[in-house]
Amino acid sequence: MKNKLNLIILFLLLSFCFIIFYKGLSNSNTYTPKVNYKKNIPVFEARDFNSNTNITSEKVFEKDIYYLVNIWASWCVPCREEHSLLMELSKNQSIELIGLNYRDNLKNAKEFINKLGNPYSRILLDDKGTLGIEFGAYGVPETFLIDRNKKIIKKFVGPINQEILNDIKLIIK
């Protein structure tokens, strides 16, 4: 009797796992945006990575160009992967990259930038992870494209790849 019960519980549990994995297959590896269409950028105040002074969101996004907010951290492995693409994008004149250093150790973050180069025109510190939440981020890395009207028009969960980069270039052209 006890045996049967065990068997049933185990089967239910495994079926549950199966369903989860099955569902996971169809939606997890897509990094395309689902939400946040045309959402306003949040109003915030944050510390600057280099000068360590506070700065308001208004000041950060003051120019009339596209912005790309990229949430990164030195401990985040996929961030290293996408970094070279960000470097490439940073050469583009019609967009500025804003880095959001997420829950990181400042020393490690600086090493990261020193080693891999700095694609960002400005880096903001988000050591508590609250700023990321304001943007509606799920984790690291995550990237938001902001248009001239200061609206978030696209959101990319996970590392940027060549395809996404081409997309972005097309939009900002």
Partner: protein
């Protein structure tokens, strides 16, 4: 062209032989012969030969750069050195699955010829279960990942192999790891066969132990090779990142290690039978699960592989069919024998092995949860998270202390009923270990209580193992060596963590950089041309604190196909420490970013893993069972 055709049809024939084998073995199962029919073994050999032909023709296509073959086109290039053309065969999804098949068929053939003294019905059932797996993989390869797909018009040039995969350690890493993974399939099939035959006995334990050891040794070495590769090729100076793909290879290793210990109990006392069967099933399931998680692209990881949902669904369904099948067999046929679990005396070798099992299960669940929790969370709440090293360190490290103490203590106990001998020597060893670690940590100015505890525990195991090595002479040598290796591994990892130092700076040619008493001098750069890449070699002279001079030559390589820039670290390995120098381009000026690391005891980390595996090898070749 021709090779692809031959390869493809050999695969189809191989599948056909699977069905023939099933038919022949069912017939053989029911007839009155006492032995396995000759034709069953011949069929198995033929199947193996066809898979080998198929594999060789894929290699041939790679060697000839036959771009009419899609796999070759996607993963090779004419300018690649011959060595990487060959290793590129299994450096991709299709080819690596063909390798899986090759090892699957090879192992079942070896099993058949090596198990002559086992009961016929058991051998045939093992063959049948193994054929189910083999058929599954044949269908998977033929339906979703055919390595012989034809391209027309024939492209003039291939896309090339990812440069970071063009590396000797990575060339042999997949085959070695697969031998471990697939070896566990034999354990899986034979334990199911043994369960249905009520043959989970002492004799079976002795017979299957060899296979457990073989898989375990290969799995350990395979994990180590992957780790070595990550260390020098990815250039972050670390060797284990708790990346999902690394975790996936670690999980079957944990269950296999537990199984290895349970088999000892089975062999000696015919107990823990349920553990043995469940662990056999779990080990293979986890290996398969690993294949699923990697190949389907459901996980985000540094290892980027092709994402094709059809492949994912196939493996997923196949995986769960195997799990359900094995569970049904386990619940229907398995009769727990009365010697099991509950009536062990609390202080005995059996109990200590049971404790080891529970530790392993704990470590397994930590790694498992860390790896699959993000997937679950994503599906249930569409929230994406990644689990990083702190999670694993925080959950594993405290238990590691207890685990190390147990590892020192457990093997000293006797079977059935034991008492603690030499209490004084144990206590004095413990005191010495604590004292030594306190002294060392004081010297290093890293006076963290937790480190002291962990290092003391590791030293304790280390000293006990060294003592056993001398006292016991050659009794139990395999166990002593493996445990010694493990304590050394933990010690070296800890000291490596504590003592590593690093200098990061930007330099241009001709500059000197002084740090404390050491000096880095960037002498010159030199350009080199190889067939598949151009490289910039930096010449560095480093004078370290004791005034010794070494020269290091890190490279920046610009691969031509596909165009990718990689940094090759130059590493000077000595017995006590590694000196690791890597340079990177800084955009738009003449400066290079230099990262110089001193990493103590790196060599010993690899040596420890070798020692652990060597323990297994001794056990494999030892005739007599230890006391």
């Amino acid at each position: 062209m021709l090779a692809s055709q031959i390869g493809y049809y050999s695969l189809v024939l191989g599948l056909l032989f699977s069905f023939l084998l099933c038919a022949a073995s069912i017939k053989n199962f029911n007839n009155n012969n006492e032995r396995v029919d000759k034709n069953v073994i011949t069929l198995s050999l033929l199947q193996l030969i066809f898979v080998i032909i198929s594999f060789l023709s894929l290699i041939l296509s790679f060697v000839n750069s036959d771009f009419s073959n899609e796999t070759v086109f996607d993963n090779s290039h004419t300018t690649k050195p011959l060595f990487y053309k060959i290793t590129g065969t299994w450096g991709n999804h299709e080819g690596s699955l063909l390798l899986w098949l090759l090892v699957l068929t090879l192992f079942i053939f070896l099993f058949l010829i090596k198990s002559k003294h086992q009961p016929k019905k058991y051998r045939i059932l093992t063959l049948l279960f193994q054929q189910i797996i083999i058929i599954g993989f044949f269908l998977f390869v033929l339906m979703t990942s055919n390595p012989f797909d034809y391209l027309f018009p024939i492209p003039a040039e291939g896309l090339g192999l990812n440069p970071i995969l063009q590396d000797p350690a990575l060339a042999i890493h997949p085959p070695i790891l697969y031998l471990g993974y697939v070896g566990s399939s034999i354990i899986f099939s034979s334990s199911l066969a043994a369960v249905t035959q009520g043959y989970i006995t002492r004799e079976w334990g002795q017979h299957i132990k060899k296979w457990v050891l073989v898989s375990w040794i290969f799995l350990s070495l395979g994990i180590m090779l992957g780790s070595i590769w990550a260390y020098y090729e990815l250039g972050w100076g670390g060797f284990w990142f708790w990346d999902p793909v690394e975790n996936i290879s670690l999980m079957p290793w944990l269950t296999l290690t537990a199984l290895l210990h349970c088999i000892l109990v089975l062999e000696k006392r015919e107990a823990l039978t349920s553990w043995v069967v469940v662990l056999s099933i779990t080990t293979f399931t986890l290996s398969m699960c690993g294949t699923f998680l990697i190949r389907s692209g459901i996980l985000n990881s540094v290892h980027t592989f092709a994402n094709d949902p059809a492949r994912g669904i196939f493996i997923l369904v196949f995986l769960f069919v195997l799990i359900f099948l094995s569970l049904i067999i386990f619940f229907v046929f398995h009769k727990e024998n009365n010697k099991d679990s509950n009536n062990f005396f609390w202080l005995s070798k059996e109990t200590s092995i049971l404790v080891n099992n529970w530790f392993m299960m704990y470590f397994l669940s930590v790694v498992l949860i860390g790896t699959v929790y993000p997937v679950f969370l994503d599906v249930i709440s569409s929230e994406k998270i990644s689990v990083g090293p702190p999670f694993y360190h925080k959950l594993i490290a405290p238990f590691l202390v207890l685990f190390l103490l147990f590892m020192a203590f457990g093997p000293k106990l006797r079977w059935i009923k034991s008492k603690i001998e030499n209490k004084n020597s144990l206590i004095s060893f413990l005191v010495i270990s604590i004292a030594i670690s306190l002294i060392i940590l004081r010297k290093l100015n890293t006076d963290v209580l937790f480190y002291t505890v962990l290092i003391s525990a590791a030293f304790f195991l280390f000293f006990i193992s060294v003592k056993e090595l001398f006292v016991q002479k050659f009794n139990n040598i395999s166990q002593v060596v493996a445990h010694l290796g493990f304590s050394l591994l933990i010690l070296t990892i800890l000291f490596n963590n504590i003592l590593s130092s690093e200098i990061i700076t930007n330099m241009k040619v001709g500059e000197k950089y002084n740090h404390n008493k050491s000096e880095i001098f960037f002498e010159k750069i030199e350009e080199k041309k190889e067939s598949n890449y151009n490289s910039i070699v930096g010449h560095f002279k480093i004078i370290d604190e004791d005034g010794k001079t070494i020269k290091l030559r890190p490279e920046i390589r610009i691969y031509n196909q596909p165009i990718i820039i990689t940094s090759e670290a130059d590493i000077r390995t000595t017995l006590l420490e590694d000196k690791f120098l890597v340079m990177n381009l800084v955009k738009g000026n003449e400066y290079f970013n230099i990262r110089y690391q001193i990493k103590p005891f790196m060599l010993w980390i690899w040596i420890s893993v070798l020692l652990i595996s060597f323990g297994g090898i001794i056990s494999l070749f030892k005739k007599k069972y230890e006391k």
